[in-house]
């Protein structure tokens, strides 16, 4: 790695470039652009400078966040000397910023912004390694993991309907209110006398008392301290100390969020009212209630590392190895046997609302076993099924930056779930978890070392010593720490889907900052399935995966 030295002229020019970018796109995007430029220089050019175009100078063309630029530099074995940065204007006919010929599978359309084709080369199907350059900076890590009010990724998440509560948490009108922590906001949910659901600031506007202690009665939630009362929109409807004719209470309103009840869940929309998307259209949302079982569990880490576990299909062959043989909802399926193979290769392509992630393992001679995971914006996964077993999915919902709620949706398109299935799931089978009664904290948790059983590990009853697929995931993901430091990870080829999901999330955030519409909001993007199948080696995976992803009402999913 060469050391990097920058001239005073370059630094002055760069400042002007960033200042211009700030005026055009705002400080957040400008800061990210600067980080990308620095990353390019320090991680790529310093390591692998392109050949100079003549004996004196090298030229490197690149578009950071849709801002094309050209770097001019020279170098020797020890040093990379950066001279100048030039905005790549369209009037430079020799370097057209809208169509730069990279000779790697064709032209790259920079005008359309970074796409899968600019991230992945075309013409090749598989990579053996992911280069070090996919490691991300601390700034990028913060960018992706922070979801509170004002955080860019948080603003993206606020454009989607977010699962906030199980409907059963508010079982009837005037039932006790429920505390909800969502995207670093502390909220209170309640169902009023008419059965309407309200989700609003947890604290009374008067003296900041938690409304969890409130009385839910007669069309609103009343603070027990001085009797202020709020309806489901957060509007204060009674301030007993003030004369009604003063109209004082009409001036008081708590921040509140609209909710939709669907598929056994209560979804909240926390974004700008004018941008409210269509209602959630995931398959499980539209099925009869007898076909669906939902659970959720608190996980003590950032949503991203939990979600990346859901995307990473290759860990199944290790972490969950023996469970697939023993778990009553997985054992004796053809897929469970084939999943034992650890020589997994991936083929991934972008779908309308996320990624289609194909994990390929050898099956019979000349054939491959494919498990196709769906990752859906912004934090959903659909897990490849096993035979006629029910389908499973997760939503990794940020509570705050150090905690998330992992939702598990189990559903069958063609039949009600059986009594035994339900009982097993309620006791932690499949991808659900056994919880401490009255809470969403798993029985096996960080505080008791997940009840690790070293004898079970040594005896190959479990690979990790932790019992249950969901708790194995929780234990591993929480062990990283509350927010994973991704600057020190070493991604390999099986992490391609994770890297692509990060890129897709980043691009969606950047597009939103420029006024774009987030992907995956439309019903068609959500109305898809995961699948698992065996194909001839030379058959088209893409075609088979897209076909299996289609939701066919009342028809079973594709699985082996």
């Amino acid at each position: 790695m060469r050391r990097v030295v920058r001239s005073r002229t370059y630094v002055a020019q760069l400042k002007a470039f960033i200042e211009q970018s700030t005026e055009t796109f705002g400080p957040a995007v400008a800061e990210r652009t600067l980080a990308r430029i620095d990353h390019t220089i320090e991680q790529h050019l310093a390591r692998y400078p392109n050949k100079p175009i003549d004996d004196r100078l090298g030229v490197y063309t690149y578009a950071a966040l849709r801002t094309p630029f050209v770097l001019i530099y020279d170098f020797d074995e020890e040093e990379l000397r950066v001279h100048f940065i030039v905005p790549a204007r369209a009037d430079r006919t020799s370097i057209d910023p809208t169509t730069v010929e990279w000779k790697l599978g064709g032209a790259v359309d920079f005008a359309a912004g970074p796409t899968a084709d600019t991230v992945r080369g075309r013409g090749l199907e598989r990579a053996s390694i992911v280069p070090e350059s996919t490691m991300i900076t601390q700034e990028q890590n913060s960018f992706l993991t922070e979801t509170g009010p004002g955080a860019l990724t948080g603003e993206l998440f606020r454009r989607y309907w977010i699962p906030a509560l199980l409907a059963e948490e508010l079982p009837e009108p005037d039932c006790p209110p429920v505390r909800v922590r969502l995207l670093s906001e502390r909220l209170i949910a309640f169902r009023d006398s008419a059965g309407r659901v309200g989700l609003m600031d947890e604290f009374c506007a008067h003296r900041g008392i938690s409304l969890w202690f409130g009385r839910n009665e007669e069309g609103g939630l009343r603070c027990p301290y001085h009797g202020w009362k709020y309806d489901v929109t957060g509007q204060c409807i009674d301030v007993p100390s003030e004369p009604e004719e003063s109209g004082y209470c009409r001036k008081i309103k708590l921040r509140s969020y609209p909710c939709i009840e669907a598929g056994g869940a209560i979804f909240a929309y926390m974004g700008p009212p004018a941008e409210m998307p269509p209602p959630p259209a995931f398959e499980w949302v539209g099925l009869p209630s007898a076909h669906v079982y939902l659970s959720k569990r608190w996980q003590e880490c950032n949503y991203l590392q939990a979600m990346e576990g859901g995307i990473d299909s290759s860990h199944v062959s290790f972490l969950h190895r023996y469970d697939l043989d023993r778990d009553p909802l997985h054992r004796n399926t053809g897929g469970a046997k084939l999943t034992r193979r650890t020589d997994t290769a991936f083929e991934i392509f972008e779908s309308t609302g996320g990624l289609l992630i194909g994990a390929r393992r050898p099956a019979d001679p000349g054939r491959c076993y494919w498990r196709v995971t769906q990752w859906l914006m912004p934090f959903y996964t659909l897990i490849p099924p096993y035979q006629d077993n029910a389908l499973n999915g997760h939503a990794f919902v940020p509570m705050d930056d150090r905690n998330c709620m992992v939702w598990t949706m189990t559903f069958h398109p063609a039949r009600p779930l059986g009594g035994i299935e339900l009982e097993l799931m309620q006791h932690g089978a499949g991808v659900h978890a056994e919880l401490i009664a009255g809470t969403f904290q798993p029985l096996a948790n960080r505080g008791n070392d997940y009840l690790i059983d070293r004898a079970a590990q040594a005896g190959n009853l479990t690979f990790s010593g932790v019992r249950g697929i969901a708790i194995q995931d929780a234990a591993i993901q929480e062990s990283i720490g509350p927010i994973q430091d991704r600057t020190v990870e070493n991604p390999v080829s099986t992490d391609n889907a994770i890297i692509m999901a990060r890129a897709r999330l980043s691009m969606a955030v950047e597009a939103l900052a420029k006024g774009g519409r987030p992907p995956g909001l439309e019903p068609d993007a959500q109305h898809v399935r995961a699948s698992a199948f065996v194909l001839d080696e030379d058959a088209s995976f893409r075609e088979a995966a897209l076909n299996a992803a289609k939701v066919r009402k009342s028809e079973p999913h594709v699985a082996v």
Partner: protein, 91 residues
């Protein structure tokens, strides 16, 4: 998927592809070899620079001769201060 990250240099992409050729089957090797061959040319077409930009590059070369340069640490300190100042300005 070839992991051609969009801020990767051409030289880097070539190096990675070349290192992996041995693992590919013959048909794919031929495809990849064609691609690499295409990439081996100049890093970019000749750049049309304005007189002002040429003068700036000349100034940069003189900066290096005169030691008017920033090490990585100096540069990051300078840009951190710059970004702080920039973000504090009203938008």
């Amino acid at each position: 998927v070839l992991c051609y990250v969009f801020d990767m240099t051409r030289t880097e992409a070539i190096a990675i592809i070349t290192a992996k050729l041995a693992a590919l089957d013959d048909e794919r090797v031929i495809t990849v070899a064609d691609i690499v061959q295409d990439m081996v040319g100049p890093a970019a077409p000749a750049l049309n620079l304005t007189d002002e930009e040429r003068a700036a590059i000349q100034r940069s070369k003189e900066d290096f001769k005169a030691g008017r340069t920033y090490s990585s640490d100096q540069y990051h300190t300078e840009m951190t201060a710059f970004m702080t100042e920039l973000k504090s300005k009203p938008q």
